[in-house]
Amino acid sequence: MSILENIAAYWKPEPIMPTPKMNSMPDLTTPSGSATTSAPVELQSASVAETRQLGELLGRLLASGDLILLRGNLGAGKTAFTQGVACGLGITAPVNSPTFTVLKEYAGRLPLYHFDLYRIEGPGELFDLGFEDYFLGAGVSIVEWAERGATDDATAAWPNDWLRVTFTTTGPDTRLLRCDAVGERGRALLAAFACAAEDDQRKAG
């Protein structure tokens, strides 16, 4: 396989935002099954430092049981964003890539479960490892390469209430962070995060 074919295969071009099949999804969070998604929020980052800063803003807002899904290619800023989230949770230990171990746990204002599904092939593997125990626990779960844990949203290994950030590489340093959410808590979190990011950008001038 040539390098170009390989890169093309590796990047697995997909629609940037697949149309969410929200109407057909079982909703575990509301009795009527009326899960709706908020309008996506787009945030721009001009550097790794800005990506980390956005993560920190989100980290300060997180509460017990929150679930954050991260999607994006290699080098798109998922781990940098997670480092910011950890900082916002008051975690002082260095947060590095959990690719090899799949999961790293940290103690902060809340426990942080940092997943990386880079090596995972599908939701069945997550169930097999008992990962739902973490999603239903007292801490905050943040999942890199979230798309590897779900063939589609309805079969995902996690509860149907989350905030998702999709990272798009728009240049060597610039990234687009597209945020959407499902479920009552996920949508509230998205609204709060969007406000915090807007405030922060206004302050930064």
């Binding site: 396989m1 040539s2 390098i3 170009l4 074919e5 390989n6 890169i7 093309a8 590796y10 990047w11 071009p13 940037i16 790794v48 290619n73 290699l74 080098g75 798109a76 781990t79 940098a80 480092q83 230990a93 260095p94 590095n96 890539s97 690719t99 090899f100 171990t101 799949v102 999961l103 790293k104 746990e105 940290y106 880079y118 090596r119 995972i120 092939e121 069945g124 593997e125 097999d128 490892l129 008992g130 798009t168 590489t169 728009t170 240049g171 060597p172 610039t174 687009l176």
Partner: protein, 380 residues
């Protein structure tokens, strides 16, 4: 003292019987490299199922190959962290059951510490660094053992740690990776370049094919993180990705797909030398690892530097470090490759130096997925 070591912290399931922390009587691993190769990486689901079914046969094989019986053993050692909780539990639960049933002392071992103690293991394998007999004032030193104070560079798919060890049982973490581990960077870059898995040997082989007539075709960044012994390889990985794409484009409405497409088109015109790119990447990793290790070795006045973990097999890294350290009279050591990757012999080796001091773990020992070595006060 004959110790049974058990390792199941991540992907590998291993059991080994080692005498006095050095002499290997058996070392069994249920290696899954052939399975992992199919996926371009390790598949945890396969690993966890495999561990459950592999642990008992692996234990029985370790005893049989050593020609030992349960009553010959003086202790049972097991990794209790860091690692994946479910995987660690397979080994720890087995170890507890065996220790209880056979009334043997149980000792929990830090996986990172064990990697370092792979350097105490004896082998006839000539790929290991030549052992040098040096007398030392240590309580349990034999000719051929590493000599304190020493510096350990632990580099693998999960780890990049620089550790100062003044004597047995004391570890001071000088620095570690802030993002990707060194071995993880090798794996991911090998995948970007289509070189296969595992990435370390693949990159090393590809780099040997580099075209020296274009020596400066690719210059890769180095994250020096001044004032620390920390490492960072994420930016390097991203630089390789961008270089492989071959071109820069501005922000576009449809983002990554266009970026990839235009990059690919530009690359096909410019032509990418995979061997040169692999070599430039490897040079960057080796340069940063060697420079920081050398500086720490000088600052702390160590007598030896030991390598541990799978990336210790990298020949350019060994050559560079040996050349840098030799003028200072500091010896470089590294275990044979079988003891660089995850194995149980290293668990038994580390355990010996705890058990001989009377240390024991209780049966309330629990897995510690996030277990770390203590941070050092030194290093600036």
């Amino acid at each position: 003292m004959l110790i049974l070591g058990i390792e199941s912290s991540c992907d590998e399931t291993g059991a080994a019987i080692v005498a006095d922390g050095r002499i290997i009587h058996s070392n069994v691993v249920a290696s899954q490299a052939s399975i992992h190769e199919q996926y371009g990486g390790v598949v945890p689901e396969v690993a966890s199922r495999h561990q459950l079914s592999a642990i008992l046969p692996v234990l029985e094989t370790a005893l049989a190959e050593a020609g030992a019986t349960w009553s010959d053993l003086d202790g049972i050692a097991v990794t209790y962290g860091p690692g994946l909780a479910g995987s660690l539990l397979v080994g720890l639960t087995s170890a507890k059951a065996l220790a209880l049933a056979r009334n043997l002392p149980l000792i929990g071992i830090n996986h990172l510490e064990a990697h370092i103690y792979a350097n105490w293991l004896r082998t006839n394998d000539t790929s290991a660094s030549p052992s040098t007999a040096i007398a030392a004032a240590d309580g349990d030193h034999q000719p051929g053992d590493p000599v304190f104070p020493l510096l350990a560079l632990v580099i693998s798919g999960a780890h990049t740690e620089l550790v100062f060890i003044p004597h047995h049982g004391r570890y001071e973490l000088l620095g570690q990776t802030r993002d990707d581990a060194a071995g993880e960077a090798f794996d991911k870059v090998a995948r970007i370049l289509g070189l296969g898995y595992p990435g370390g040997p693949a990159i090393e082989r590809a780099a040997l094919q580099r075209d020296a007539s274009i020596p400066h075709a690719y210059t890769m960044p180095r994250a020096w993180l001044p004032g620390t012994y920390d490492f960072s390889f994420s930016g390097l990985k991203t630089a390789v990705l961008h270089m492989a794409q071959g071109a820069q484009v501005g922000a576009t409405a449809d983002g990554a797909n266009r970026y990839m497409r235009e990059g690919a088109a530009a690359a096909s015109q410019g032509g990418i030398s995979v061997p040169n790119l692999a070599a430039a990447f490897q040079e960057s990793v080796v340069d940063v690892l060697a420079t920081k290790t050398l500086r720490a070795a000088q600052e702390l006045g160590v007598r030896q530097v030991v390598l541990a973990g799978g990336v210790a097999a990298n020949q350019p890294l060994r050559a560079r470090l040996a050349a840098d350290l030799a003028p200072l009279g500091i010896a470089l050591r590294y275990p044979p490759i079988a003891f660089c990757t995850d194995n149980a012999a290293m668990i038994a080796a580390a355990a010996y130096f705890h058990l001989r001091l009377g240390e024991r773990s209780g049966f309330d020992l629990d897995v510690r997925p996030g277990l770390q070595l203590p941070f050092a006060a030194v290093g600036s």
